[in-house]
Symmetry: C2
Subunit: 245 residues, 2 copies
Amino acid sequence: MSRNANLTPLPGSCAACTVRPFALFRVIPQARVGEIARIRSGVRLVRAGDAIMDGVFTMYAGWAFTWTATNDGRRQVLDFHLPGDLVERTEDAAEVEALTDASFCILSKERLCAFMGHDPGLALSYVEGLTRDRARMRERLTSLGRRDAAGRVAHLLLELHGRLLRRGGGDPRGAAVPLKQAHLADALGLSVEHANRALAALRKDGVATLHKGRLEILNRKALEELAGWGGGTQGGMLAPTTLAG
Amino acid sequence: MSRNANLTPLPGSCAACTVRPFALFRVIPQARVGEIARIRSGVRLVRAGDAIMDGVFTMYAGWAFTWTATNDGRRQVLDFHLPGDLVERTEDAAEVEALTDASFCILSKERLCAFMGHDPGLALSYVEGLTRDRARMRERLTSLGRRDAAGRVAHLLLELHGRLLRRGGGDPRGAAVPLKQAHLADALGLSVEHANRALAALRKDGVATLHKGRLEILNRKALEELAGWGGGTQGGMLAPTTLAG
DNA sequence: CGTTCGGTTGATTAGAATCAACTAATGTGG
DNA sequence: CCACATTAGTTGATTCTAATCAACCGAACG
C-alpha cells in the first residue's frame, strides 16, 4: 500500500468544502465564501500518530484527539476531533495528535480574530463551538465521576455516534469509529484491559460492538440504559441554530 | 442571626462594581460603563441552597455551583462559580445552586448578544471566559481520569486557591473556601467518606487543611506534588489579556 | 436541650488496576 | 510470498483503591 493511500486532499476552494456545513464557517452564505479565503493559511495532510503543531485548524478528513500526560507518564485523552471540528492547539500542556491519517485546513488566528471583529455571526458560530465543547466536557466529567466502566464506554459510544450522525456520517445502526481500545481507555480513565472487558460485556449482551474501526449499535435502548443517556441536545446559550454538535 | 445577615447587596451602578475588573465587562473602559446599564436586567440575592433559575448572570458575592443528577440519583458537581464569574443556566439537565448566600447581577441574553454584536472586545471577553471554562473542565477531566483521591482533592484546592488569588481573595497561605466535604466529593467523583479520608491525610501530613470554610495551605510544594500540578496558566487562544481565571 | 447537619472512623465489599501470558491481526523486509 | 516482528486485542489471577454500610461525635440551631 502506498504511503499516502488514505490521505484525503482538500478542495482548493471553500465553496466546494464538504465539511463547511458543519464547521465554523457554516454561517457564511455561499455568496460570501470568497471573503474567508484570506483566513485560510494553508492545508496539511498528516499520518495517523503524527503530532499536530498548528495553532488553529478545521478538521477536513480523519480524526484527531487532544491529550495530556500526567506526572507518572500516563495519558488522558481530553477530546476527539471529527471532520468539521475547529481545533485549537494551545501552548499549555495539551497535545494534539492525528488518530487516523487526516487532513485539515489551517487558519490564521490573527485574521480569524479580525474577521470575527466585523462579523458577529462568525463570532457567534465560534462561541457556539466553545459552548458545545464545554457541554461535552461536562458530560464526560459526569461519566468519569459517576458512571462505571460499562456506562462510560456506552456513553462515549453514543456521544460519538450522535456527533457523526449530525454531520452525515454513519446511520442509526452504526458508524465508522476508528478508535483503538487504548483511546477509549485513556479518554475514560480506565486501564486498557478494563476497557476491553467492558467492551466484551457489551458484545456478549448484544448491545454494541466496536470492531475494525466500525461501531455497530445492536440494541440502542440497552445502550442508552447503560449510559444513563439524558438524550439532551446541547445548544449553546447564544446558539439558536441547530447544526453539528 | 437575622435571616439576611450574609446577603451582600450589589452597588447600584456598574461603575462602582468591585468584581467588574474580573468579570465579563472588564473590557469596557470606565468612561463607557454607562453603556452596559441596559444589559443588566436585575439583581438577585439568594440563600445558600437555593436553586438559581436565572439564565445569564454575573456572580457578585458568594459562591454557586452547577450540578447534574445521574440516573441513580447521585450528583455530579460540574463547576464552582466565584464572584466575577459569568454563569449561564441552560435548559438542559444542569442545575445551578447557591453554595453560600449569594448575590448576582442578571443579564439580558438578548441585549448582551446585541451589544457583543457591535463590540468585538466584549465578544472576545466572553470567548475568553468560555475558553477558560473549557480548560478548567479539561483539568478536572484529567483529575477524575488519572488521579487518585488525594491528588484530586489537592488539585481542586489548588485550582480554587488560584482562582481566588487572581480576583484578590485570600493570600498565598490560604483563602475562604466555603465548600462542604460533600461538594468536594460530588465534584471529584468520590464518596463523602473517601473525600473525608483524603482530606484527613492532607491534614495529618501537614499539607493543607479545609476547616470551617477556610483553606489553609501548609506546604504548597507537597500539595502541588500530590496534585501533579502542571502550574499551567490557561490563556485562551483569543485571549491576550491575563485577568481572572 | 434535643435535633439536625457536617464531619469522622471502622469493617466489609466491589470495581478496577496491575501483572502476566497469550492470541490475532497487521505489517515488513528478505 | 513467506517468516518474523510488532501492534492490538483478549483472558485470568491477584492486589488495591474506593464504595458501601454502620456507627458515632460535635457543633450549630431553633
